[in-house]
Symmetry: C3
Subunit: 439 residues, 3 copies
């Protein structure tokens, strides 16, 4: 494979990508999403403006493995008012105010009864928490603890104008075919309401990745999945069970727009190529923190269940549950920054670059070092105390190009970024010092 086979994003292309992604996050943020309903459909419609999204509808009641697709939930409004008509909570102010999948309610009740239905965060008294009750008929409101404490005794009028009825679960899929049958799965959950990092950022970054990849030569096919958490992933798995063996690499992407991390949770396999590839890329010059698989998180839980055991890991900036804004109203549009969205975009492009361009080089001059100086690849003056990184990359590639190490192996062993190793290999190939192992 020659250098021309894969084109990294041009500088022009990357320049404004952060701003563009942030603009998309901003359009997705206000929508009231859940695991079913019009919010998901509106979200997919916006994503469809960027890439060609196939919309799938799975009817309520459909059995998927151990689960059943629930009734479709839609929201027209939800509020709490004092007996005198003063609004104290209204979903119009924040989608987080209403517990996801709350059943319809319209009644007056004293505060003493209402308390059992109110969720707050006493340790973060100014923030509204995010809560759901998908599979247990219930209702509730979320509010800032300080507002909760200010509620006066007395009766309140609770109105939850929702519908829970047979309908369908909706998810979207983008597929970009590759030169081979092998596929890369990139998945982001679409079910969270107004939480910018979790996961408007994941949806937006993947949409722009799909757009960028659509114009490139691809060894692999790329499948983007925008599905509600758990039940959506299970619906996709059930619909595609006979072709899962095509998935050679995969990433679940969430919380990808803040300035932390990055953190990568390995696939259940632990040593899949995707797990190794992420060790050799950089994000804004930083290595990715690697953590071992655990069966809690996003849809890698489903992809990595023992019956599938797909090579899919979870890529994040700050890891879920570890940042103060997680699952609160502070996960808003100010929490995700264009520059972080851009560096995350480039990081995933670099990961894809590893997958697309890795190969096993063969040193064609393996006895001693070849003379790099006469080929312009080595300093003409000797004696310096330090060695440029690209020189070290030439030496590492030549030393390990014995037919048993891929470029990825060489990057891991040398501690150098894959991009530097790949550049070195390409130049050595141009000098005919390096050939390919014929598979």
């Amino acid at each position: 494979m020659n250098e021309a086979a894969w084109f990294p994003p041009s500088a022009e292309e990357a320049a404004d990508i952060g701003g563009e992604i942030h603009a998309l996050v901003s359009r997705l943020f206000p929508i009231c999403r859940s695991i079913t309903g019009e919010g998901v459909r509106r979200t997919l419609a916006i994503l469809s403006e960027h890439v060609d999204v196939a919309i799938r509808e799975v009817p309520s009641g459909t059995n998927v493995f151990d689960w059943t697709v629930p009734q479709e939930w839609n929201v027209r409004g939800a509020s709490i008012r004092t007996a005198s008509g003063k609004t104290v909570v209204d979903i119009a102010d924040s989608n987080l105010h209403l517990v996801g999948y709350s059943e319809p309610v319209a009644r007056r009740m004293p505060l003493s009864d209402l308390r059992a239905h109110i969720h707050t965060l006493p340790d973060q008294p100014d923030l509204i928490p995010y809560r759901t009750s998908y599979y247990s008929r219930s209702w509730g409101f979320c509010m800032a603890h300080c507002d909760y404490l200010a509620l006066e005794e007395g009766d309140y009028d609770v109105v939850i104008d929702t519908t829970l009825a047979d309908g369908s679960l909706t998810y979207g899929e983008v597929f970009l075919p590759g030169e081979t049958e092998h596929e890369v799965l990139l998945s982001a959950h679409i079910c969270h309401p107004s939480l910018a990092n979790d996961n408007c950022s994941g949806l937006a970054v993947l949409a722009f990745l799909a757009r960028a990849l659509a114009g490139r030569r691809r060894r692999f096919g790329y499948r983007f999945l925008f599905a509600p958490g758990t039940i959506g992933a299970l619906c996709w798995l059930a619909a595609n069970e006979d072709r899962l063996s095509k998935v050679h690499h995969g990433l679940v992407v969430s919380c990808i727009g803040d300035g932390g991390g990055p953190v990568y949770k390995r696939s259940r396999r632990g040593d899949a190529m995707i797990d190794r590839a992420i060790e050799v890329i950089r994000c804004d010059g930083r290595k990715v923190t690697m953590v071992d698989f655990s069966p809690f998180g996003y849809d890698e839980r489903q992809f990595c269940s023992p019956g599938f055991n797909l090579p899919v890991g979870l890529l994040q900036r700050s890891a879920f549950g570890t940042f103060a804004e997680y699952h609160t109203s502070a996960d808003d549009l100010d929490f995700v920054w264009p520059e972080h969205l851009a560096s995350s975009f480039r990081m995933i492009m670099d990961i894809i670059d590893v997958i697309e361009t890795d190969r096993i080089p063969l040193n064609l001059s393996p006895k001693g070092e070849p003379q790099l100086g006469k080929r312009g690849l080595y300093s003409a003056t000797g004696g310096h105390k330090t060695t440029p990184e690209i020189t070290m990359a030439y030496l590492w590639v030549l030393n390990l190009a014995d037919g048993s190490h891929s470029l990825l192996d060489i990057a891991r062993r040398s501690g150098l970024p894959f991009s530097t190793i790949a550049t070195a290999a390409t130049r050595l190939e141009a000098c005919r010092l390096l050939g390919d192992v014929q598979a």
Copy 2:
């Protein structure tokens, strides 16, 4: 195997166990023990009040591997008196005063000659050291260094009223048969005189373990060995050489009553099940510090010699040689506490619980996560920042129950205590989400 097959100690049973064990330690402490003699027999007689101990006598002169059973040593008295008749050292004050296996002496000698026979600890001047001379005819006294410095020049009358004569070496054995031929060996040395932690604690804890296990269903047979160090263990090994293959797991237990550690020294094999089991239990909520095998210590030296290589490790609270009280008169009844004896007892019960109940579970719903919520095993409300340990245990068990991981493997991989993993597995079995791999 169902949950009923193994019963952990009830709360009632555990409540006073520390006090009971300490009372037994207190009865054993004053006895003057060595590797042979009446002290060992009196000790075994007291242990026999708690469990059915088979007493073995091995005649002096018997060859055991590279060793010979020595003559039996008994003590009637030992003292040093000034020429004017003032007692300066008397074994009646502490069994440690007399070097173990001192030969009979009755003579007057000047202090200048006596000095060569006196052992002290200059760095711990108030404590009496513990010394022995089993295999080299000799005699000596141990005393506090400050008392030694106070000895005045002049003649002293030394009387060591001991006998060294043909007789036998004594050890005790308790065997509780199991449902299988496989055995667990639990061993404590019985040869140390008035040292509470080393090893009255080990003898007493094992006696109570034997009593507790006697009333339970047991997959494994349990063999408790109370034998003098080195030569006693060798006698047992020689007598049981043809059946050592039945020993599937084993522990040497010593210094088990203080508040340190726990510390576990792995068997020579290093990855025996006992070595792995101890990684997943807790003692008062603390993990056990694991150290690799080394060929110095207690009778694991014999069990782990290359000709036997049994899967036997050493379990201690504070490791021998590392605590200031070790082998001194400060290792007394105040150094071992009822609560530490109780937590050590429970720790060993928990280890046995791993051995008895480990199994390879099989996820019967391996495609995606099964829906735990509908079975009451998952929070009805979603969105919380943290996850209860038992929920993590369900997810870990389900994720790794692919037929190639035992509960012990799952506990090690997850970092959760075995007891939590086992509880989760039992509940998942009750829900028919988990079955057993048929061996």
Copy 3:
């Protein structure tokens, strides 16, 4: 193999070795060396006073793998003078002043033109750097930055009286045959001019090692190579390509006379016996810092190229490039000390001792510990808190002498020095507790 088969250096032999080696370093230091020329020949002539060096000459233009032997370079003089005749730089003051392989020059030029040919170290303004330009026709001077700053504007007369002409590359080889065909390669580069640690120290230490080994019984043959860096090693490899399989162990030795480290860079194989042997020796009581192979450094780059992949590592005190004196005029005779040269000499002798004497012992009394006390190998008095190192060595050797561990394995596992383990094994063999595994 019995103890007599290998004799470590006697105390007398070792006593003055540091002074003798330093005296040799002092004779080698003033010579103006490069990768070819009379400097190399004069250096080899001095080494030949100590050991029997075979001199090899390889004609200019000879192809060796990807390289060609360059023309021979010789220097008669080099200076920079002001127009008024004042000398500002003269190679007579330091060989470092002239860039290695500078082509002949005789011309007047203004300082503004001269600057491009002057190398300094702004961060170490009092030191002269070391620079070369072997394979690119060029010329230049090196000087202290403070002197460079003091140069006044105006014209300067530059004279470089060198010759670059067909001739030959010279290297030296010492071979001491062994009882077997297997060889140990010990290599030091001979091409650096007046740099005491890098590498007069390596040349001198190896010369004394060769002299010391010449008088001993040797299982292995020892091949000492004194060759110019890269091209010299390649010449040797090309001349010996058909017999490289005889090289079972090897070391490149450089920077071996300062007080740092030691640091050992493993061979490319990473687990060659030489890599493991160095873990179990000590230098002045210190362990050797082990670092993994990297393809930058001295001639291990050639020996460990993928086409050869010889089991050769790099042994240094302070690692090249990490000490302030590296490749500067501060790497002078005061930087290398007799005591460090002596401890390095002894360290390499100890490494050779591992290679020569390692064997797989077999415990002839493997059931339980044999009774060491009756053989005088164990303290007669028991109960001490600590155990002498030699006692631990007896126990480790006996415990691991199961036919699958060599003395080197036992030293690594126990953490004890090889010398202690070897002493223990020899004494246990004398007691017939240990035999040899018959290969």
